[in-house]
């Protein structure tokens, strides 16, 4: 039974995945404390490590065509355990949406409107996401096509405008990274931006020609990964060692653009980038959780759930962290393990499905 009447094409799926991964383009700066000037290396390794995981997700989706994650859980794990696992997944989606929302709220509050309380920003942002989710996956895919183009444009422009401030010596020495830091960095990078595409298992049933999804998802992942890479390279090249102490290196490095006294003070570009990219991310997570609950309770349509789930997500975003450093601490410390459990379990699901030879 289809909860969503819309269908998206595989090229739209590419853009959706790319925009989703680009949603974390500013959040990955949290690994600067761990990896100092090697963040770009960790981005690459995270991307490389996430491609096999992505293939697992696609294989799982292909094994159960037309069924989303909740249904797959039910088939593989049985009715009771499956419901439990699905409920945990929905909690995961909601909380990640909340974390992203709180990040957006913090950055906008701190950089643009310091006196405004964070919840006002979060609520208004969530309203836009709620409206999009209510309109369905098609609208989300269509908006993400254009937003992704804007994001890529902004990233490239800021990169080129900062070329004169870049110092390649900021990357030296190569490979002075301890293995422990490298693994920790890769772990964060794997779980935080890249493998959160597990939520697309909820979206897969609505993709036209699901068999071609593999190319789209991998391509989207790579596009998103390259965007994050360019952004990270730019930050490290411009800011050097100071990027380790900065809360948001992207904004600070773009603040340094000063050409001919006209092309200056362009941080609005980066904040727009943040808003757009995070919008896609939060909307997709939001959508995943709304669909999940609708499917879990066998509802006919997910539309009445949009506002209640939205208020839950907003409350989560306000309650979770009081200030940004807490968020960063969580994301570098326990966060990756938290997300890894959810991102890794589809592997287990696939194994069990293969063993039990499902679907019959």
């Amino acid at each position: 039974m289809r909860l969503e009447r819309g269908i998206i094409s595989s090229s739209q799926l590419t853009f959706l995945v790319a925009g989703y991964v680009q949603g974390s383009v500013m959040v990955v700066a949290i690994t600067n404390i761990i990896t100092k000037q090697y963040t770009w290396l960790v981005v690459l390794s995270g991307l490389a490590a996430s491609i096999p995981l992505a293939m697992v997700y696609i294989a799982l989706a292909r094994k159960f065509p037309g069924k989303d994650l909740i249904q797959i859980n039910r088939i593989v794990y049985g009715p009771y355990l499956g419901k439990l696992v699905s409920a945990l997944y929905i909690w995961f989606f909601c909380s990640i949406a909340g974390f992203m929302l709180t990040y957006v709220g913090e950055i906008i509050k701190y950089y643009m409107m310091p006196e405004t309380p964070k919840y006002a920003i979060c609520i208004l942002f969530a309203c836009i996401c709620a409206w999009t989710v209510r309109n369905g996956i098609e609208v989300l895919a269509r908006t993400s096509v254009i937003f992704v183009m804007i994001i890529i444009f902004v990233i490239l422009i800021t990169f080129f405008l900062l070329l004169k401030d870049m110092q390649l010596t900021n990357f030296l020495p190569f490979f002075d990274l301890s293995l422990k830091d490298f693994i920790q960095g890769t772990h964060v990078m794997l779980t935080l931006p890249f493998s959160e595409i597990v939520v697309f298992l909820m979206v897969m049933p609505y993709v036209n020609k699901g068999v071609e999804a593999k190319k789209s998802v991998i391509l989207g992942l790579i596009i998103g990964g390259v965007s994050i890479l360019i952004d990270t390279v730019r930050n490290t090249a411009v800011l050097g060692v100071t990027s380790t102490i900065m809360v948001s290196p992207s904004i600070e490095s773009v603040r340094l653009i000063d050409l001919a006294e006209i092309i200056t003070r362009l941080e609005m570009l980066v904040i727009t980038l943040l808003l757009i990219a995070m919008f896609i991310k939060v909307s997709v997570m939001y959508y995943g959780s709304v669909l999940g609950i609708a499917r879990l309770f066998n509802l006919r349509s997910y539309r009445p759930l949009v506002l209640p789930i939205g208020s839950i997500i907003v409350s989560l975003s306000i309650l979770s962290f009081t200030y940004l450093a807490q968020n960063v601490g969580f994301a570098t410390g326990t966060g990756p393990f938290f997300t890894l459990t959810f991102e890794f379990s589809p592997v287990i699901t696939l194994l069990i499905a293969k063993i039990r030879k499902l679907p019959k």
Binding site: Y111, L124, C127, L172, T242, L256
Partner: protein, 396 residues
């Protein structure tokens, strides 16, 4: 769906209520803000206290203000386009808040051009004073840092000839130094980068107020050398250029060399310079190889000999290289005397030999004075100007 319209209406009303609640707090009309263009930090009389001076723009006066007001007395703000506010206190951030006791407008820092620190204050260490300028969101990282010989509030009071605001004058002054390359241009981000490095010493341009009779002007005259965050010494203009040769920041300048045959001096203008620093570690001795390439043109000569033949030009190039070498060695000597690594030798060692670096950085203070430098200077004179032989009667 009869109550659908009512529902939508409710939502719209909720939105309209939310909108004024949210950002209106952050709303500052243009005429409720006073734009700070310059900040000065001085030592105050009481120990531990600093005096903070902020220069605030009066936009309405900008169009009508004369550049220099000779008739007004000292500190006369008759038609000046700026206003300097001074306050003392222990912590910079509290002083900034205290300004609200005097100023009817809220101080607004994002357009700050320059941060001036008095020399006496810099000698005590400035990390604790500039932290607010790094941490606060309003102050930006491309503000210029300057150390002044005199008190900062005096510097900020000097009405400039060409600009309307002293702070903008200072900022442009510091940035124009690349014509002579005798003073560095240091932004806050560059300062912080050197500050955060264990071994590299921060630098900042030095300015002072010179008075020529009744007229006062601001002059840039060298570089302040720090060690960690305390000021330990200075480089004069020549030594500064030596430093800039090494860190690859020379963009122009004029060097006088003597003509080998003794017929006057030739002024050579530097057009381009590039430097490369390569560390070599051999059995506990550290050698830094510096390769400097410079390009220049002949700007003027005081003699009447034709110095544009290839032989002459080659000898001029040698003289130029010798001069550059002298400048660099002078800078090296002063840096070693002050024991602060302003060149970034430590960093270059870290880039190439990270494992050795870990041992070296602990005892860098002992290692640094013993570093040997091998200079390899390569100069090329590209052009002789508009004329080749000087404008003198041709020799028969």
């Amino acid at each position: 769906m009869k109550n659908r319209m009512g529902f939508i209406l409710e939502i719209i009303i909720c939105f309209m209520l939310i909108l004024p609640i949210s950002g209106c707090w952050s709303r500052h009309e243009l005429n409720s803000l006073s734009f700070v263009v310059g900040v000065g930090l001085d030592k105050a009389e009481k120990p531990g206290e600093i005096q903070l001076t902020t220069q605030v723009v009066k936009p309405g006066e900008l169009k009508s203000a004369s550049a220099k007001n000779k008739s007004s007395g000292s500190g006369g703000n008759g038609t000046n386009a700026y206003w300097n506010i001074k306050r003392t206190g222990y912590v910079a951030s509290k002083i900034i808040r205290d300004f609200s006791h005097e100023s009817s407008h809220r101080l607004y820092f994002p357009h700050n051009q320059v941060l001036i620190i008095e020399r006496k204050l810099a000698e005590e260490g400035i990390q604790k004073y500039i932290d607010t300028f790094i941490r606060d969101n309003e102050t930006r990282f491309n503000v210029l840092i300057v150390v002044s010989e005199d008190r900062a509030n005096e510097v900020l009071d000097v009405s400039p000839e060409l600009e309307k605001l002293p702070a903008i004058n200072i900022a442009k002054l510091v940035e124009t130094q690349n014509v002579t390359s005798e003073s560095p241009t240091v932004r806050l981000i560059d300062f912080i980068r050197r500050l955060m490095n264990k071994t590299t010493a921060p630098i900042a341009p030095l300015i002072r107020v010179t008075s020529d009779g009744n007229e006062k002007t601001v002059e840039v005259f060298g570089t302040a050398v720090f060690k960690h965050d305390k000021l330990v010494g200075e480089l004069n203009k020549r030594e500064t250029r030596g430093l800039l040769w090494v860190i690859n920041k020379v963009k122009g300048g004029m060097i006088d060399v003597a003509v080998p045959s003794g017929d006057g001096t030739v002024s050579l203008e530097i057009m381009r310079a590039k430097s490369k620093m390569t560390p070599v570690i051999q059995d506990d001795t550290i050698l830094i190889k510096l390769d400097i390439k410079a390009e220049g043109i002949i700007n003027s000569q005081s003699g009447s000999e034709d110095i544009t033949s290839p032989v002459h030009v080659a000898s001029l190039e040698k003289e130029l290289s010798a001069e550059i070498r002298k400048e660099i060695i002078a800078a090296l000597k002063t840096a070693k005397d002050l024991n602060s690594d302003i060149f970034g030798f430590g960093e270059s060692i870290y880039w190439k030999y990270p494992s050795e670096w870990k041992k070296l950085k602990m005892k860098w203070d002992e290692v640094f004075p013993d570093i040997e430098v091998a200079l390899n200077i390569d100069t090329t004179l590209r052009s002789t100007g508009n004329i080749s032989a000087p404008a003198v009667p041709a020799k028969e």
